[in-house]
Subunit: 474 residues, 2 copies
């Protein structure tokens, strides 16, 4: 391999060319990968090359064997899960981060990483109307953020747990809505609290936790000898994007001395638009809070922002400084003290570039557009005789199903909507996901991509209604 | 903001230009950031911009306020911790990953991510001579990998822990060397096992765990009513890069039915060169194993490879599939089942590009060069009257100190070597870190950067010996 083949300028030129080519045809690629399991594996050599290969070969493989096996989250017709999107400013910032290749475990090992992270998290908190006194760190995912927060809550409730562990300790319990994300259960499993000790509190007809039932559950558990220690409220649940009554839940937490963690991974970012600020009402009372710019703030994956009113409790839970990491810098934040993860990428750069590129006004406008698009789609569903909404649409997600008159067998509806979903997703033009809402199979459509416009949604609706017409024969 | 200002082609051109400019002068920048705490914070607006700003402004800020606050891990004189390095192929692959912006939680949400991860991890295992039957996943850091592995070990030892938690369960204990990384303690803290239940087994004069003392400790704990469940062996400890006697430790684990996890975060990659294959001897008997391509395999941070012989135990510990993540793809790997983290970046791309760019021969040659450089440096230390080595040099790390004849007060030696370190790091040309080895303060020099050559090491040695000459007056 000649040295210049691997030079920075040659590779950057090839990469930029590849990115531009990919972006220019993203709308023409099938959204959902059409390959069978094992297809890509079969295209790849079973063993690593002994000798280097020219970069032109890797980049052409990107087109020939990687892209066909990619489900294109960038496609404007990708409307499943939480449709997410990066943005050109976020992506090039990530290139800068990969280039710098710093590890921000200590302030000293990259002051810029540490301080920029603090500053952009303050910007993000301000943009969402959250307390600016909060301390924030960036993690990879909301699952990690929630795990860290519940670990801190455990530390506060049972300070001995860090050193002595949980065996022989109190019977800890935590609470969340039936609609809360599975990451709450996973956190309890990892933390040694156990999944059984995640009490899932029923929600109301609009999928919001019932705070009265939360208070009852806590009291019952207290009476039964458990130690309730934390509550997780969700702002924008994964299935229906419902918003728990955070202020009332905070009041219950205050009465009982419980830690309140808010999972606003998806919907938190909406609050950058003043008309969605209501969704975070009560969140200022939380002990910890997570929102993910990689979900709905145009920042490439991964970027999850974890805030807390109690950074000292995080340090009590996670700080541990071995001899090789002692430092002479006094009075600084060392980010390794707030997590079990030691190494960390320079993730703040991408959020910084996103803020600077769009400004809070531009970000608010993008969110506003997405919500308006979702509402328009919901209107089409409501106006249709054969479809119905299955949940309110507070943000950019619509849950609906095909439900023609006279067909009320739930099992059959689930099956037929499953067929419909397969057909629509097979079109290559649209991708929806699915969920279950009070036992009903729901088609789940989420708008989150900067390039998803009205035309793409109209096209999705066309595919859906067309597919529905063929269901009679199923 | 005009649309074209934020277009892909304009931003990619600016970013490429910035990267080339930065790379061309990396050796001229001070290695260790020279800013005072708070300097960068003071340069940044306290609040986010309301309106977007032109990209030229962000990129010039990168030069003017970010770079002065960066500690340059890319600098060829960065020789602290484990000196790491990305590479042009790894960096541009990361750009592709950020561009694709996929979330590989399920096979279906990006078959390419899932399958390429399996294939390149098999390549990596083959390159290091590890069992190809192992199952591998990429995580962000070795801390996460070790946490996941010990969580799986806990699951095997106490299957009820996932659902019921640890309260009322057996008194779990795990074992590692006194020299093992702090991530083992942190994992025990997070998992609810407690730091007290991490038994640190003494090492020999060469910093390798004593397997006889391991067996004794396990037996003693059994007698005392504990349930020993896991042992962590280290291949390349953080301070001295010593290699635990893995085969003998595996034998102890087999006798007692304990899970053996190997932390080869740094030194594992060395085995790509046949002459360092010895370091992984016995690792084929491990239940889980971690090595970090972002440490010494020219892959940008973050990329940690976790392998296991028991993927089903990981699924038992971590798999949990809510309604919104059920999938119709049968017989596939869904990576979310092996971790508490749901979302995941397309990290396999960068490892793939690194393999294809350099081939196993090129990678072996780079490792070989680094070890040879470290040995050469160690030779200078040994030849000097005023310096001494404090540990063997099996890989690319040299631990040494200034120790002139007649000065044997350990506290004074620590203080003076601390001064020396400050002086050397203040030069801007070199950065070393430090550690403690059997109570002695050690200067810690690590070669890991593709651009660190003999000239840079000679220069480092010159700075060190010069600084030592001024110590007499301290």
């Amino acid at each position: 391999m000649k040295t210049e083949a691997l030079s920075w300028d040659h590779l950057l030129a090839l990469a930029a060319q590849w990115v531009l080519g990919y972006r220019s045809r993203i709308g023409d690629l099938p959204v959902l990968a059409r390959v069978q399991p094992g297809w890509l594996t079969a295209q790849l050599p079973a063993s690593p090359p002994e000798d280097g290969e020219p970069p032109e070969a890797w980049f052409s493989d990107l087109d020939n064997i990687i892209l066909p096996a990619v489900t294109h989250w960038n496609h404007p017709g990708f409307l499943g899960y939480f449709g997410i999107t990066g943005s050109p400013p976020g992506v090039v910032a990530d290139l800068v981060s990969s280039t710098l290749n710093v590890n921000g475990m200590l302030w000293k090992t990259c002051p810029a990483l540490t301080e920029l992270e603090q500053v952009v998290l303050s910007w993000y908190a301000q943009a969402l109307g959250l307390p600016t006194s909060w301390f924030g760190v960036i993690t990879d995912t909301a699952s990690t953020s929630t795990l860290l927060a519940l670990g801190a809550a455990r530390q506060r409730a049972f300070p001995g747990s860090r050193e002595r562990g949980l065996t022989g300790g109190p019977k800890l319990r935590l609470y969340c809505s039936q609609e809360a994300h599975s990451s709450v259960d996973k956190a309890a499993m990892v933390l040694g609290i156990g999944r059984e000790n995640v009490v899932r509190v029923p929600a109301d007809a609009q999928f919001r936790m019932r705070p009265d039932l939360l208070a009852d559950a806590i009291q019952q558990d207290r009476n039964a000898g458990y130690l309730p220690f934390a509550v997780v409220a969700t702002v924008g649940t994964t299935s229906s994007t419902s918003v728990d009554p955070v202020a009332e839940m905070a009041e219950v937490c205050r009465e009982h001395g419980l830690w309140l963690h808010v999972d606003a991974a998806y919907a938190g970012s909406a609050a950058v638009a003043p008309e969605f600020r209501w969704a975070l009402s009560g969140c200022e009372l939380a002990d910890s809070f997570v929102a993910n710019p990689h979900k709905w703030f145009f920042t490439p994956i991964d970027c999850s922002c974890l805030f807390t009113a109690h950074p000292e409790t995080f340090r009590q839970a996670y700080s541990l400084v071995p001899a090789y990491l002692t430092t002479d810098a006094a009075g600084v934040v060392d980010l390794m003290d707030y997590s079990f993860q030691l190494g960390r990428r320079f993730r703040a750069l991408k959020l910084w570039f996103v803020f600077r590129a769009y400004g809070t006004k531009g970000l608010a406008e993008a969110i506003r557009t997405h919500v308006a698009l979702a509402h328009e789609f919901a209107g089409w569903v409501e106006a249709s005789q054969d479809f119905e909404l299955l949940a309110p649409v507070p943000f950019s997600v619509v849950n609906f199903r095909w439900h023609p008159r006279g067909l009320d067998d739930e099992a059959r509806l689930a099956k037929l909507n499953g067929h419909l979903l397969q057909k629509v997703n097979g079109s290559g033009k649209v991708f929806l996901s699915h969920t279950t809402l009070y036992g009903r199979f729901a088609l789940h459509l989420a708008v989150g991509n900067l390039e998803t416009n009205r035309d793409w949604l109209e096209n999705a609706w066309l595919e859906i209604t067309r597919a529905a017409q063929t269901l009679g024969s199923c």
